[in-house]
């Protein structure tokens, strides 16, 4: 009995030792929701207001809208009121035409603008009050009421789009709303839409070109050095490695680069005078470049060197000599597809 008690005690001690080790290995910070304050990093505009009781807020703030509202009615939300801040001063004619075209209006010039606009003082602020009605559709009562406020080069636009009667009815609320607003301009300009995807973080985005890769080339991992990396393999397992790299400056010059590549495929370096044996002029996206063709005993190398805007661009394919011969035309087609936009 004492023996079994001692064994149990020993087992317990062992468990404590193993347990402590296990706990030590998992003693990192426990995940939790955190709340903290930092000095404001936000550079966009902030607007605050008091909303009339009859108005509701639209949660969608897409585009340049800093606020978006509607009028609550028994039939549901109607009309649309917005807040659009512009960092730069915006021409009243441009703004009027932006909305006027939507309503089928002919071009609004300075003369016409004078007729449809007035200056309205609300509180300490002076608003440009522009009323545009739908001229493009017969019987339409659609109307746009624009309130423009200018302050130190910033322009705040409050468009109220709705039926003529609704706008007339809600004009008092609109004025109260404008009176209640506190306007804080952003530190950066609100940019227009332009479709483009972000570049990978490790790559140099500076003037990166685009190209078309032959479909059978297989993508391999790019690195901080390689902007693109592909591999070509044939049935016998022979391989070619293709890469696109870019560096600031001329990276030692053509002779140094070509000699380094020649060394990689077992060809002795050449003097400047003999460089012509391997390089020939080529045009890449309407820019003068150099084509390097070097064939060693077992391996070959085809490359294009382009110096463009103080950067060197290298497009290089190297590997099995026989496979390189087959892929040469594909490589040249690839070079033709390179575009620096």
């Amino acid at each position: 009995m004492p023996g079994s008690f001692l064994r149990a005690k020993a087992f317990l001690r062992l468990c404590i030792v193993v347990g402590s080790t296990w706990m030590l290995s998992s003693c990192g910070d426990q995940p939790e929701i955190r709340s903290y304050e930092i000095p404001s990093e936000y550079t966009g505009p902030v607007v605050s207001w008091e909303l009339p009781e009859e108005w509701g807020e639209n949660p969608d703030l897409s585009g340049p809208m800093a606020g978006s509202f509607h009028v609550k009615t028994d039939l549901g939300p109607v009309g649309r009121i917005g807040v659009m801040p512009f960092r730069e001063s915006v021409s009243s004619v441009d703004v009027a035409n932006m909305f006027g075209m939507e309503l089928g209006q002919a071009t609004i010039d300075e003369e016409k603008l004078k007729k449809i606009s007035e200056i309205k003082k609300i509180g300490d602020r002076e608003f440009e009050w522009i009323r545009i009605s739908d001229d493009g559709h017969e019987g339409s009562t659609r109307t746009v009421l624009l309130a423009l406020y200018r302050n130190k080069g910033e322009t705040w636009l409050f468009p109220f789009i709705g039926d003529r009667d609704l706008i007339r009815e809600q004009e008092q609320n609109f004025e109260s709303f404008l009176f209640s607003t506190t306007l804080r301009a952003g530190k950066v300009e609100i940019r227009a839409k332009a479709p483009a995807l972000p570049p990978p973080p490790t790559h140099d985005a500076h003037g990166a070109p685009t190209w078309e890769i032959p479909k059978h080339w297989v993508k391999t991992s790019a690195s901080s050095m390689r902007l693109a990396s592909y591999e070509v393999t044939d049935r016998n397992g022979s391989k070619l490695d293709f890469s696109v790299t870019s560096f600031p400056g001329d990276v030692g010059g053509t002779l140094a680069n070509v000699n380094r590549w020649l060394g990689q495929i077992g060809i002795d370096p050449v003097q400047e005078a003999d460089l012509d044996k391997y390089i020939s002029p080529i045009v890449l996206d309407e820019k003068d470049a150099q084509l390097v063709v070097a064939e060693g005993e077992t391996d070959s190398l085809y490359a294009a060197i382009l110096l463009f805007e103080d950067r060197s661009w290298f497009f290089k394919i190297t590997g099995n000599r026989e496979l390189a011969k087959v892929e040469k035309s594909n490589f040249l087609s690839f070079l033709e597809s390179v575009c620096f936009h």
């Binding site: 080790t21 709340s35 605050s48 227009a192 600031p248």
Partner: protein, 429 residues
């Protein structure tokens, strides 16, 4: 009885007493166990090295070293691979082997070693190795790796983790102060609901993943798949569609984390948003005007302007680093980097500052963090530091010093004894 005999008996008696007292540790102190564990460690390193090619360094670390055990499949291309590949082979993990080695060494230390000058070197060597193992375990548990990107002429006061994202809500209504509420990745569960007193709304997680492919669909196309419910923010305006993807563990892998969530004010839905985390930091979204709002999607609620974003887990520092200049050099005629160098000013609290040059293998150490030169783009005028916080960074150094002293002691002791013996035998009879 001579003094020497008495002393030997006392020492033997003390070791015997210790072995008796810690009898339960004797089996754990077995040298066979040590050799078995070391052999298994070699197998572990071999297997993990093979697997690193397939799943990347981070994947191999997580599967085999930061675990109690891992499952390995014999490679198909090896001899007999077509048959053996189907069999899952359990491999003891780093935590298991490391933990057992610590126990084994500690048990041996207590039950076998003698506290004599003659054995002092051996004891110090073993103590050093124990410290090395414990230090590695502590490093594994406490080390954090982050990055800090700074543009030339600007300063930064936060670092972002390489792995792991957080959902961040920022109340930017106040012009001076921004209130931030962050929800770490571990709390974001697909189908779960997140409530916190710090936010005026609750969040229902619809879809969440650590990596995805995303594309901008043509205008007018109907959202389908994961994004079919998205009706607010950039997901809607840019017609973003996504498809989930396995996490890429390779060192060059780019993981775009995604989250589709619906906000509720009580039972009233405020809409469904899609947010994406850029692996290089969400400031990269600014490069794409159509997606730039992914760094800050505005949500107006009860007169306050909130911004929401899924971003790399962020930590603010009580100091900032300003980048004065960057320089990168390559070996002439090659693409091999020769030197990356950042000229910086460390701005501390109380208007104190310190100028420093950070370059390869010469990091900046401050406030328990080490800033290594990591990436650089002189053309685009920015630098990226790898920031390591490792509270146990001194332990390996102390362990190495202990092992060195132990080795020196042991060799010196034997050398002196050998020289004495030689000089005694050389004396004429």
């Amino acid at each position: 009885m001579s003094k020497d005999t008495k002393s030997k008996k006392r020492k033997k008696g003390s070791l015997g007493e210790r072995r008796k007292k810690f009898a339960w540790l004797v089996p754990l102190a077995s040298i066979n166990l040590t050799l078995t564990l070391l052999s298994l460690s070699m197998i572990l390193v071999f297997v993990a090295t093979l697997e690193q090619v397939r799943i990347g360094i981070r994947g191999a670390l997580a599967e085999y070293f930061e675990s109690m055990f891992g499952i390995w499949y014999y490679p198909e291309q090896f001899w007999g691979g077509e048959f053996l590949n189907a069999i899952p082979i359990p491999i003891p993990g780093g935590y298991l082997l490391g933990g057992l080695l610590i126990i084994n060494l500690t048990a041996a230390y207590i039950t076998r070693f003698q506290w004599t000058g003659k054995k002092m070197g051996i004891q110090l060597i073993h103590l050093g190795i124990i410290m090395l193992l414990v230090g590695q375990l502590a490093t594994q548990a406490m080390q954090e790796e982050s990055r800090m990107q700074i543009n030339k002429g600007e300063s930064s006061n936060y670092i972002e983790r390489f792995h792991g994202v957080e959902l961040a809500f920022s109340d930017v209504t106040d012009p001076e102060t921004q209130r931030v509420v962050t929800i770490p990745q571990e709390i974001i569960e697909e189908g779960g609901t997140i409530r916190t007193a710090d936010l005026p709304f609750k969040i229902q997680v619809k879809h969440f993943g650590v990596n995805c492919d995303f594309t901008v669909s043509p205008e007018g196309s109907t959202p389908a798949g994961l994004v079919k419910d998205v009706n607010r923010g950039v997901g809607q305006t840019a017609n973003l569609s996504i498809s989930e993807k396995e996490e890429d563990f390779s060192s060059e892998g780019l993981n775009f984390g995604y989250l589709i969530f619906e906000l509720f004010d009580g039972t009233n839905s405020l809409g469904t948003w899609l947010t994406l985390a850029h692996p290089g930091g969400n400031h990269w979204w600014k490069e794409s005007p159509k997606l730039s709002d992914l760094a800050f999607q505005p949500i107006r609620h009860e007169g306050k302007l909130w911004g929401v974003t899924l971003r790399s887990e962020r930590e603010y520092l009580p100091y900032s680093i300003e980048l004065l200049d960057v320089e990168n050099e390559f070996y002439q005629g090659t693409e091999i980097p020769f030197n990356f160098e950042s000229d910086i000013v460390l701005n501390l609290e109380g208007n104190q500052s310190r100028r420093a040059l950070v370059y390869m293998n010469t990091p900046l150490r401050h406030g328990g963090k080490t800033f290594y030169q990591y990436q650089m783009n002189a053309a685009a005028n920015y630098t990226v530091f790898q920031v390591i916080r490792n509270p146990s960074w001194l332990v390996p150094y102390i362990a190495c010093v202990l092992v060195s002293i132990g080795l020196l002691w042991q060799f010196s002791f034997h050398l002196i004894r050998f020289l004495r013996k030689n000089s005694n035998s050389a004396q004429p009879a």
